[in-house]
Symmetry: C2
């Protein structure tokens, strides 16, 4: 029985933090300016509060100025739209992040479209999404898939011709992940809740990215020996079996780690990398806005 | 030995022409206006000239006013850009089509971005491509994949859980085709020139869309008995084997039609449908610009 290499997201995130710090220092030396991210959060969803605080902390750590705009859950959509427009026009804000979900009754898509594309550090604006999905290397790309690819690159040198299966087809993870893997030269199979024989399609893969939102969906016998497994799932369970609550991924980690050659844990795998690429996108957006040439990030 | 149903693009295109005519008549009755498509062609590429003439003819046939702007091959990019900007601002032009390829030295991507997204009847502008790839039903979508889906719908009632393999990952066909098939509920595998075991991935499919640009790539033993095969390839051969020149698809039609349950011919399959959806997109763009509510097309 072998044991898969654990791809540690925390360690890699620390490496990227240093890269981001260096880029910021270099830009500051040339332009005398510091990047600023503004995080807009509406209402008091407790999970959102944790996510936003984590993002603000990580910004501080690498030297990105950050501001949290906490808005009342009862704000009108028109008011929120105006806040986003003002930030889009504010030369001191380089990145805008609208924390989702929004309170019921608000049209997130409409409001996200108001974020100036060059400040859209989540990569959700259709102009960015379209450029990215068409293969542009300059577009602000969604954070989580960028993080997944970086994790994969720690264990895979050459992606050409590898078979990848992506479980889940969301606009935030599944679709852009498939695009990144195609760009690397993989064949990509996208599966979802309507798919037949998901197990077989996962079992055929050299690279598995699980983003289904279904706890422990991927079993050991779904995985080809030696495959690399990236687990994007963040599922909150009230009882992990030992009476304690906690977070589990979309992959049965314990069993799959005896079959795969490398695997990300949950937590501590993809999660930290998602924030890393929020920081990277913020610095990329900042560099573009201050007129710096392309940066190495 | 069975014989596949031939999915006739010409017949279906005639049906869509009637639908387009009816939509135009209905919009004219309510708004007193007629849609207009302007086709911009630069230089004298003979293939482009044929394509453009076909498009103009089909417009005339359904009652779309059309204009061909033939520009000199030596025009400066800045001048061409200004032509596109003027058309984008012209209230009498509802659709703009820039015929590709452009002469060497011109940046097609930059110029395509100048087309007002609401007049971008090819669906190539990143704003449209992004909205489409994110699943929006309102975006102007690329024409060829829309045509392929319509052809598939003549022989498939329920796409849920079907396995589709798309050969080729271009922004114009492969990627948007994969997205449309995902939207229908298929599992989708995207393969390309770097893929390993393309045959096996094609053989696993219930639906095969070949858009590789490689004559007779798909052989009979690549195809699962009963699969549906859509051939997007348009390959010009100097000698078809009988000394005559002509056009062949990416599929070995004669052999595959003895295995598949349904198949499109080349020519006369996907080709006519691509122009059909150019007409459909023009009427959709027109309806949106004159303030008509959503039309049935």
């Amino acid at each position: 029985m072998t044991q898969a290499q654990i791809i540690c997201g925390k360690t890699l995130a620390a490496v990227i933090d240093e890269e981001v710090k260096e880029a910021i220092a270099s830009l500051h030396a040339s332009f005398g300016k510091t990047p600023k991210l503004t995080v807009v959060v509406v209402g008091d969803d407790p999970a959102s509060a944790i996510y936003v605080n984590n993002k603000v902390k990580r910004c501080r750590k690498v030297g990105i100025e950050s501001e949290k705009l906490a808005l009342d859950a009862n704000i009108f959509q028109a008011e929120l739209t105006q806040v986003i427009r003002d930030l889009s026009a504010d030369p001191d804000t380089h990145g805008i992040l609208l924390q989702l979900p929004l309170p019921n009754g608000m049209n997130a898509r409409e409001i996200l479209h108001e974020i100036a594309p060059e400040k859209d550090v989540d990569g959700f604006h259709p102009l960015n999404f379209g450029s990215f999905m068409a293969g542009s290397q300059d577009a602000l790309a969604p954070c989580t898939p960028q993080g997944c690819l970086r994790l994969l690159k720690t264990v895979i040198d050459d992606f050409h011709g590898k078979d990848a299966t992506v479980i889940g087809c969301s606009n935030i993870v599944g679709k852009p992940m498939a695009e990144l893997l195609l760009q690397q030269g993989c064949s990509v199979t996208s599966v979802h809740h309507l798919s037949h024989d998901i197990e077989g399609k996962v079992r055929a893969a050299d690279i598995i990215v699980a983003a289904a939102g279904s706890p422990h969906l991927v079993k050991a016998d779904w995985v080809k020996p030696g495959a690399v497994v990236i687990d994007v799932g963040i599922n909150r369970l009230r009882d992990l079996g030992d009476g304690k609550s906690g977070i589990v991924g979309d992959v049965d980690f314990e069993a799959v780690s005896k079959v795969a050659s490398a695997i990300t844990p949950v937590p501590g795998g993809v999660g930290p990398l998602t924030i890393s690429y929020l920081l990277v996108n913020t610095v990329r957006a900042f560099a573009h806005q201050i007129g710096a040439s392309k940066i190495e990030l």
